[in-house]
């Protein structure tokens, strides 16, 4: 099966500084791919290249079969993206945000109607759908942003630290949504700083200073580093004390 995300020696330089250094990996359909790394490791930079927001300095990447450097417009049609400061319009209502993003993705009036009903039902938002987004709790905003990233039924969705700043229960609920989407065949590409979340991924990669230092399923990684948690794997790698 052709991978949904295919990255070959992808690099990004800002001046002399190499934020992403010749990384390579593949992600398959319906997979939940965890993209880990310490602050400043280059995760967001890599993700922005894969979403067509940044042009790579060198190397190649294909997302949903399209080259991110030359076919960014086609890539954009096939991906969802939830940025680190996930971006809903706070001064629009939930309903208006849904209609707006649905419209921008070119959905028909009927599709927007159906999907907004779907989102409202699923998250039990009926009572608050006409409230301004700024008045709803952070956890709801995150779920709404996720739902909007999926509104046009993309093949891949990029989630950049989607669960920052909320309690473990809310995070757990968010992961239920992720599983559900993955079950529907959506490929999930997610960065996180929570190592418990890393355990939920099908496969993870760990980036250090722009390089991918480890790649595999959580159990493979734990086994090869001979530790019993992803947290320990991460500590070893990110602190540079691992000798593998």
């Amino acid at each position: 099966m052709e991978p949904v995300v295919k990255v070959e020696n992808l690099s990004k330089k800002f001046g002399e500084f190499i934020a992403t250094n010749a990384i390579s990996f593949e992600v398959n359909k319906g997979e939940i791919f965890g993209f880990l790394g310490a602050n400043g490791a280059g995760k967001t930079t890599a993700m922005r290249m894969l979403s067509g927001l940044l042009t790579p300095s060198s190397g190649q990447a294909f997302v949903a079969g399209f080259d991110v450097a030359t076919q960014a417009e086609l890539v954009k049609k096939n991906i969802g993206y939830m940025s680190q400061k996930f971006s809903l319009y706070e001064d629009l209502t939930i309903q208006e945000n849904i209609e707006f993003y649905g419209g921008i993705y070119g959905l028909s009036r009927q599709e927007i109607k159906d999907r907004s009903k779907g989102i409202v039902d699923k998250f039990q938002l009926a009572s608050v759908k006409n409230k301004l987004v700024k008045t709803i709790p952070l956890g709801w905003k995150q779920k709404l942003a996720f739902a909007l990233a999926l509104i046009h039924k993309p093949k891949v969705v990029f989630l950049d630290e989607p669960t920052g700043g909320v309690d473990p229960i809310t995070r757990r609920q968010f992961w239920d949504l992720i599983y559900e989407a993955a079950n529907d065949g959506v490929t999930i590409f997610i960065t996180t700083h929570y190592m418990d979340e890393a355990e939920y991924c099908d496969r993870v990669s760990i980036m250090v200073d722009g390089l991918i230092k480890a790649l595999g399923t959580p159990s493979e990684l734990k086994k090869s580093f001979d530790v019993d948690s992803m947290d320990a794997v991460f500590q070893l790698l990110a602190r540079g004390t691992a000798n593998k």
């Binding site: 954009k76 971006s87 001064d91 208006e96 070119g106």
Partner: protein, 368 residues
């Protein structure tokens, strides 16, 4: 097209919900127009008039009457030679010496233009300009009356008003107001356009839109169109207020003024957009916008005459959109100029608008 419609709709939803922006766009202009119009009151009364009457005719007397009858001039001295006139002007004892030529009455009844001379005390530049305008207006009025009544001439010749506008009530407010409306509108448009785009970048929604298939030009049009509409609203509301409360003159075609406005607006919009691409934060956008706005206002000709600026300043001033608008306002509203006179201004605005917007779009594509 649909995308632009969706963006415009979204923008209006946000604008009407914005508790800071809405008063800024509605109440502020009204207050500013009224305050500035009163503050910038150049109306000057009791100007001191020196009279040098070489004709000593009935018509000359009538003209002098017309000057002193309007409460703006006060007879101060009767003069009989140039030396005296110079002395009074130099000592700042008169503001205007009205010289009525020898064959004044004859000239009126013939088709010749009488060579009336104004010798103006130019100690205060702005005041001198007003004196000149008042004096010309009164004389023109006098001549029109005279010739209109005249039975001597079969078809009274209409003398074209060339250099000076005519403000029948001689009320300076009415001249200032349209310019101030244009100035306030330009200020608001530059500011909200710059702030709005920077704000979307700060909160990250631009990035969110950048991962959608939305095109950059659609995004930009989605921004420009709402503010273009708002610019119209502010301008015409201001002009309507001026008409209602100050009865500002509207000699020329409002349709023509609208045509100019519709094109003009792309200039402040482009400037706002350009500023938004050059700064990082809303605060920087605010300060940068104000820097330009203050320059534009000071040099637009509303508060100091453009003609008296040094050459280099006039050169720079070619880039001042307000200068053009103030001039067009005067030409259309006060003088009644038509498309032929306004056309060069429209052409300049089209070039300026295209230029600044292309620059802004180019920068925008690089930075966002």
């Amino acid at each position: 097209m649909r995308n632009i419609f969706i963006l415009v709709r979204k923008e209006f939803l946000q604008i009407f919900r914005n508790r800071q922006l809405l008063p800024f766009m509605t109440v502020l202009p009204v207050i500013q127009v009224i305050l500035l119009t009163f503050a910038a009151n150049y109306e000057i009364k009791n100007l001191r008039l020196g009279i040098w009457d070489l004709d000593q005719s009935t018509s000359a007397q009538q003209l002098i009457h017309k000057f002193t009858g309007a409460k703006f001039f006060q007879e101060k001295a009767l003069i009989s030679n140039q030396k005296k006139a110079d002395e009074l002007l130099m000592k700042d004892e008169v503001d205007l010496v009205l010289v009525i030529p020898k064959d004044f009455e004859k000239a009126i009844h013939s088709s010749n233009n009488p060579a009336i001379q104004f010798q103006i005390n130019a100690l205060n530049n702005a005041k001198a300009g007003i004196v000149q305008n008042y004096a010309s207006a009164i004389t023109q009025d006098f001549l029109n009356e005279k010739r209109g009544n005249s039975t001597l001439l079969a078809s009274p010749k209409i003398i074209p008003i060339t250099n000076y506008w005519y403000n029948p009530t001689l009320n300076y407010k009415t001249i200032m107001l349209p310019g101030i409306v244009a100035e306030v509108m330009t200020l608001i448009i530059i500011l909200i356009c710059a702030l709005n785009v920077v704000r979307e970048r700060e909160i990250g929604t631009i990035e969110q839109l950048n991962v959608t298939p939305l095109k950059k030009h659609e995004f930009i049009l989605g921004k420009l169109i709402p503010f273009w509409v708002i610019g119209h609203f502010i301008f015409w509301a201001g002009i309507a207020l001026g008409k209602i409360f100050f009865n500002i003159p509207m000699v020329g075609s409002l349709g023509l003024l609208e045509l100019f406005l519709a094109i003009f607006l792309f200039v402040p919009l482009g400037i706002g957009l350009f500023i938004s691409t050059a700064v990082e934060t809303q605060q920087q956008a605010l300060f940068t916008s104000f820097f330009f706005i203050i320059l534009f206002i000071l040099m637009c000709g509303l508060f100091t005459p453009v003609e008296t600026m040094p050459d280099w300043a006039q050169y720079i001033n070619q880039l001042n959109p307000l200068k053009y608008f103030v001039e067009v306002n005067r030409l259309i509203l006060l003088k009644g100029s038509g498309l032929k006179e306004i056309y060069p201004f429209i052409a300049k605005m089209i070039i300026y608008g295209i230029g600044i917007n292309l620059l802004a779009i180019w920068r925008f594509k690089k930075t966002n």
